[in-house]
Subunit: 222 residues, 2 copies
């Protein structure tokens, strides 16, 4: 790899991966940067530049081998590293993730769920056991966990994250709407904020409305 | 505004807004680009450049007025436009959004929820009425809706989106995991893919592991 890759490039890789999987499933074996760009709304040069951050993936003029590119991107993204996860807080968002999100497909094995609800403790959700949150420290002393999916109520987010960090969990996929700032560089936090994507949509809605008004004014004026 | 603003800049604006709200709530009245950058992990020059895409917000050397900057960003993001939304599909992710996501805070008024579940139809969730999905077309003929929150099962995503577009809904906040490609430029779609953020986290976990191994090798070799 050629030095540090920018966060923007990293964040486009999952999009490439999704599209390549889709194309592979539909039977495509080769794809050009032009075609991949058309499908994703990126320029071909952007795509070539992004991939070149990681080495040479295609042969000039021949496009990319879909399967091989998909595998290389999976390697880059660590999909083949079999990370072990726990989910902490089994409320509506936690349940929704367990039921609908395919952890395995992203190379993550969801090992256990923790909650305080006695109706849930001792049950399994989609085959994953739900344990008492009070036993979390004991569990972490015995199991090596790579990443915690944090879905506790917002008011519990900071204390839960601190406890997990103290027990050696150093990566967080955080849905609590409370920004968790890593206390030291070894801790990785991906804060998921639904509002960010809604506000981006809102911006484009506002821009579209303004453009339509402008077009109307030009039409009236002409 | 100075011409078209890049999507990367747009997507940073909600992060600025969140941090500014937090600082305003804690009583701060002025903030420098250095301090805002430190809180968010961006360089001060990045921040000044982002804001300058929309005009002049601060006075050189004096920093930004927190409240005024927050208001200007809200204007840019269309938070003050009182958009009307419906939510289509009241499964676990739909319910989770209604219960936990503060639509009002993002300037969105959630008007109604649609589902086929007869146990839900006729009830209210957090004050929002749940109607029969079979009555959706009729509802849209009578109500002007700016944006649909799409939380139907993945297999229903495309048909639901098409029907909504045919009924005049031209913006989608799509949680179905099925990529909705806008059929014409007037339609705006924000596809939410949880896997994108998890895979970015996975990348950084893999990078960290590789760096730690490298550091160990250097230590052993030295």
């Amino acid at each position: 790899m050629k030095g540090k890759v920018s966060d923007n490039v990293i964040r486009r890789m999952p999009k490439y991966l999704r599209e390549l999987k889709r194309q592979e499933d539909s039977g495509l074996t080769r794809i050009s940067s032009t075609e991949l760009g058309r499908l994703l709304g990126f320029s071909p040069s952007q795509i070539r530049q992004d991939f070149s951050s990681f080495g040479e993936f295609g042969v000039q003029g021949y496009g990319y081998n879909v399967q091989s590119l998909r595998e290389q991107i999976e390697n880059i993204l660590g999909v083949n590293r079999s990370y072990k996860a726990i989910l902490v807080g089994c409320g509506s968002i936690g349940k929704s993730l367990i039921h609908n999100f395919c952890f395995e497909e992203q190379g993550i094995s969801l090992q256990a769920v923790f909650d305080l609800d006695t109706d849930l403790i001792g049950t399994k959700i989609k085959g994953v056991p739900v344990y008492d949150a009070l036993d979390l420290q004991e569990y972490l002393a015995e199991h090596s966990i790579d990443v915690a999916v944090l879905t506790v109520p917002q008011s519990k987010a900071k204390s839960a994250a601190k406890m997990l960090m103290d027990c050696g969990v150093h990566a967080f996929w955080n849905f609590t709407n409370e920004e968790i700032v890593p206390p030291y560089s070894d801790v990785l936090v991906e804060n998921v904020h639904f509002s960010d994507s809604l506000l981006s949509l809102s911006y484009y809605m506002a821009e579209r409305a303004d453009n339509q008004k402008r077009t109307k004014r030009i039409a009236v004026g002409s």
